[in-house]
Symmetry: C2
Subunit: 657 residues, 2 copies
Amino acid sequence: MNNQDEQLESAAGAGPIVTPTSGAGTSVASTFGAVTSVAPTTSAHVRLRPIDARGVAIDGGLLAERRRTNHEVTLLRGLEEMERAGTVQNLRIAAGRAQGERTGMVFSDSDVYKWLEAVAWELEHQPSAQLQQLAGELTELVSAAQQEDGYLNSYCQAGKPEWRWSDLEMGHELYCAGHLIQAAVAAARASGDTQLLDVAVRFADLIDREFQDGPRITDGHPEVELALVELARQTGEQRYLRLADTLVSRRGHATFVNATFDLDYYQDAVPVREQPSLVGHAVRALYLAAGVTDIYTETGESALLESMQRQWHDATETKTYLTGGIGSRHYGEAIGDPYELPPDRAYCETCAAIASFMWNWRLLLVTGETRFADHMERALYNAFLAGYSLDGTSFFYSNPLQSRNGHTRHHWNPVACCPPNIMRLLASMHHYLCTVSDAGLQLQLYAASTVTAEVPGAGPVELAIETDYPWAGTIAVTVRSSPEAPWTLSLRIPSWARQATVDGQPVAAGDYARITRQWQAGQRVLLELDISPRLTSANPHVDAIRGCLAIERGPIVYCFEAADLPDGVELADIALEPGAEPTDDGLIGDLGGVPGVEIGGIATSFNGVAQTLYADAHAQRPGRTSSPLQLRAIPYFTWANRGAGAMRVWTPVREPA
Amino acid sequence: MNNQDEQLESAAGAGPIVTPTSGAGTSVASTFGAVTSVAPTTSAHVRLRPIDARGVAIDGGLLAERRRTNHEVTLLRGLEEMERAGTVQNLRIAAGRAQGERTGMVFSDSDVYKWLEAVAWELEHQPSAQLQQLAGELTELVSAAQQEDGYLNSYCQAGKPEWRWSDLEMGHELYCAGHLIQAAVAAARASGDTQLLDVAVRFADLIDREFQDGPRITDGHPEVELALVELARQTGEQRYLRLADTLVSRRGHATFVNATFDLDYYQDAVPVREQPSLVGHAVRALYLAAGVTDIYTETGESALLESMQRQWHDATETKTYLTGGIGSRHYGEAIGDPYELPPDRAYCETCAAIASFMWNWRLLLVTGETRFADHMERALYNAFLAGYSLDGTSFFYSNPLQSRNGHTRHHWNPVACCPPNIMRLLASMHHYLCTVSDAGLQLQLYAASTVTAEVPGAGPVELAIETDYPWAGTIAVTVRSSPEAPWTLSLRIPSWARQATVDGQPVAAGDYARITRQWQAGQRVLLELDISPRLTSANPHVDAIRGCLAIERGPIVYCFEAADLPDGVELADIALEPGAEPTDDGLIGDLGGVPGVEIGGIATSFNGVAQTLYADAHAQRPGRTSSPLQLRAIPYFTWANRGAGAMRVWTPVREPA
């Protein structure tokens, strides 16, 4: 740390590395042509840019393992499940290649598109002749199913022509179109195959005629907006960006006033630019927010960014679960009131965790601030991964933080939006590890990996990142090659880190540690994050978990599961010993060797004495005795992999007897 | 207390006054011919019997006031609202007297029937030429709308003949028929008018042909079962009782396996006789339970009573709100898991409180045990009355125990099941004050009233009950006339009473105080119940209200409402001072003079310092200060009568700073 060219900024008290403005974009090079999910144009209003994912290889650790399972197990099973469910057959019927009645949900075509997007991203970094052939056949089928005028939706085409555009509230037509567009952009970027892009463009042009100039208003389920922006970026066609903006601007005017749910459900009560808070159906709200952020990115309209910032503060300060999950209500699959965060009835749809990850990625690009990456990480390792079984064969739709009776993973549901969404995020995970800026490269998510990136204003850089993160807090970054010009390596210091050092020097959490140097090949930077287990409390306004604490270890939220309790002890009767602190507890064999955590607890028994539900506050509960026991906590995302049993993240601290 | 013929049993430690058996019925006289909602036959398996409601007059106090509002305001407005909503017009269309499209919910006919039932019971004790004329016209319309074969349902008859019996899952055909039957029985009993009974019998005969002997299975929404038992009692026709039993016995065999909701929703996962717990849609579950109890009453089949007792224990020990409300989930309007009792997302439909009242009345008749009357009282004064605005013009459908943003009463909803249900329970409230048994009369619900009843084995008795219950705990019972034979006056001592005396002698809560005498006209018994405000705690398994206490006063649950807080103090920042005790606080003028309660509290402020949602458990919340204040609590049922504002029943006790 004595090189005259280098500078390690200890970020104590530092603000964001840049202040977002709504003016001109930055001068860094466009990512057009790059293989990545979100590719802002050259003039985009972003502080950071994605790098070309072809330069990133995740080669070890938890994320690599989850991606391997996705590749080896889940993608193939997913297509089998879609065949079994009739989802693919629906497209054959639409294409006139099969007879029979369409089956399944109105939006099931989108499952196919998400699967195609997943495979497109997957094949770029992990070839598979089988997957390639299956994706090719499916792409050809989708293309064949498209109607002359560009329309494509099996629900309509399989015998309901009059349905077209007739149920914008719940019909998911544009939602499906959006996923088609995303898959098409993925295929074009990842492999150069534009067969699906041609389909997407024809459909988008029809939508443009019907909605921009025609009589249609907007879709009840946002998703097409972010896809249209990406299509504009991919094709250079500004009409798609304008259409996205139009669809967004038409929300908030009570189009869906006589619909099944209230206006908030559809984000249709308040215009987006005035909306103070994140409301309604969680997945709809979050896909919309991602799309609105994309539109801001390309148009620079400050009212959009201000709305996004307001909604983000509202969401993260009052409506987000510790797991990063969003959605407190089963009814309407909805975000609740501020501080309405019941652990047992948490909905936290896996798709909402994915949509939150997507939104935070876009805000990270716009602002450069680490807090957005913190939220990506929280959602990724907890609410998202919990939705995916360790063996890769089953899924959760909702991800509660407490279950009294267990919760059984499903192999495939009639509503199958989550499984292929999991597949596409895992397949594209390497898009999200790093960003670049003028003479800078930022490591956002840590994984054992190699990174080759073009640092704007400096040149090509190659890094090797060695770590067992998130299980270990040591991250060694070795520069394998560097241009001569100095550039800044920025390391995100997660806000949860109680202590962090870079090469032994303390750095502050919640910002980047930045090292500016003329880098030499072989130079190495050692980041140490304190991931020792810790207790977390909630804002006292979160009524549903009053008197409870949670255990976290690094970015991983822990929970107690019935499988780890002694015989005869019920999870409902467990409390934490006041003052007890969690410590590491070795690796858990029956969960694939993930680290366990232990903490001193108390088991209460009523010794068979029946308890009334309510009693005089001064009365002792009859029969009550307590005994100490050591409790083992497991990573929340690994729960329900040893059968169904009670689980809780937030656990009461023993009340005074 | 020195009369040699008298005996006051202090009930300390005593069990139920009788042990329910599944054998022969009691020997008390039949209530056939009596004016009352539930009239078990002579051979019925009941320990107690309703009395003829013509002998009861509620002449003062809270219940009389609520009934006066019902009579003067709500019944007439209700019919106007049903006209405005098209509910009556639907029957005109069905009768061929009007053209146009039917509007409203599939089950809206039942609103008309509940209104007719309400008016039938109301006119018996409070004549009104206007109501009588309107009910007569409506009865004539219903009669005219009935089809040749007995079928009657406006949804089917107004242009959807193919719909008949096609949607038993959600079509509510038998549900509507049940309410028609109940209205018809009410009219026949209350006034002798059998016009509606003729309609009901024709429809019931059709249902018998279609379901008992025909191809139909059962209805997704129980309600007709209890109505059929009452029709059997009214007409002496045993086929209706058999049909009710058949419909009950067909549940639990997955008839609705591919329906909208899970099998529990329809009480269709487990046969009634094996069902261990109260599950699914709350109103469906509770109407079914009332019907099953009715069937037991007439058949004496022990498996039915055992199931009812199991389900009652499950419900009251794990699934009932402090207010007596049942239904923890908005999704599926459902009962939740045991101990899943979130105050904010409590559904507690007003109809569920009514159905619970109905079920407990039936169990009270069967067993004679006071705990069932305790639950009737709890539901009546809290979950039920909360659904009805003080001015009688607006209603709640759901009755949460906490609201962060307020909850606005509605004048009439598209789903209007609750308002006319409120009307019929208020109109028939005098049916539920007393019961009789061999040589005994039991006072179950206390109200200023006069009671004339035939005590079996003794003779006619007249009592005057003077009290300001539930606001005061003094109940003076004066015998105005009595036969010469001795009989037992039993006074229910509510389980909540910390102290109770009869004529100065302590008596135990949770049982009857019984006085057996040769009564003389003019003799008076003075019951004193300690209704001073008290703090109540919940079983620690109720996670959602951990660390909180509630205030009760007599049978009334209290709450805090934002309207009573000083400016600038938010309800979310209020806690109870540890050790503080509630005391009376005078009458609340802006709530019609109901008694207030005060208690020492703490207001926390964060002084404008932004708070994170989650934090290290060892960190102090920044900016936090607390200051003491006196808090005023109001009766829960009176909330949301001064505009919409935050409210909570369960309030945290201040945590250590």
